[in-house]
Symmetry: C2
Subunit: 121 residues, 2 copies
DNA sequence: AGTCATGCTTACTTTTAAGTAAGTGCCCTA
DNA sequence: TAGGGCACTTACTTAAAAGTAAGCATGACT
């Protein structure tokens, strides 16, 4: 994918970085649900009914690989696995909150045909 | 796509809203370049050399449809078209800045294998 | 022996996003 | 009359993301 000389760091816009970490159809929602407390796989399934197990597992694994989320296995039976924001993930909370605040406002202003918000066109 | 009863507003996570607006391979970069000043099509092409005209046009049209960006045509010849953050788009600046700040920090900490940042794994 | 729950994985299909390359319309300058 | 600059479109191809459906391992409970 990176075929030319410049490194990712040199030309990458930091906004893109965040979007890449959060981009993925279910990641914002997953993080959103982890904001208040750790959740197990089956809880997330219930909280996000439209997500398939495959996508939930895949996105959780990606969030884990990106160090935003931790995965803790309790050796009980039936198995219990808990997902939580990592310390590093918590550093992103202010970002998520800022996004939330804007997003809420935006949703209020425009549900569907997006925004006829401020400007008196 | 929306086949069941609940409305988008009811179940949409506000973070998702922001990501949907910014999601698109070139949108963060476009916005990033519009932060300081309005730019014309050809300027954006030069600033983002990897983008194709098709994608640049498409993403600009989407940003315009979302009211984040304005498009001003100057009836000169050859044509001149300027893209700028709308007033509404400017309300997103703090969000973009927060994301930038985190993203920069993240990029610094981890160029490539992502983040061994805080937690002493 | 059969069923249940949990937390997944795998193989395959469909959908969506992005990229390629060529073309358009305008008027201006050489 | 020919070519150039600007700001795009259009038709088509490719690649990436998401979805579907089924299967698996463990051990407990009946």
């Amino acid at each position: 994918m990176e075929t030319n000389a410049e490194t990712a760091a040199e030309r990458k816009c930091p906004i893109e970085t965040v979007i890449q970490l959060l981009g993925g159809k279910w990641k914002p929602l997953i993080l959103w649900h982890l904001l208040d407390a750790a959740k197990r796989f089956s809880e997330l399934e219930k909280l996000i009914p439209e997500v398939t197990q495959k996508m939930l597992a895949q996105h959780l694994r990606e969030l884990e690989a990106d160090k935003l989320v931790t995965r803790t296995i309790y050796p009980s039976v039936p198995p219990k696995v808990e997902y939580a924001l990592s310390d590093y993930g918590k550093t992103m909370v202010p970002v998520l909150e800022t996004m939330c605040a804007w997003g809420e406002n935006h949703n209020r202003l425009s549900s569907r045909p997006i925004a006829q918000a401020i400007a008196p066109v």
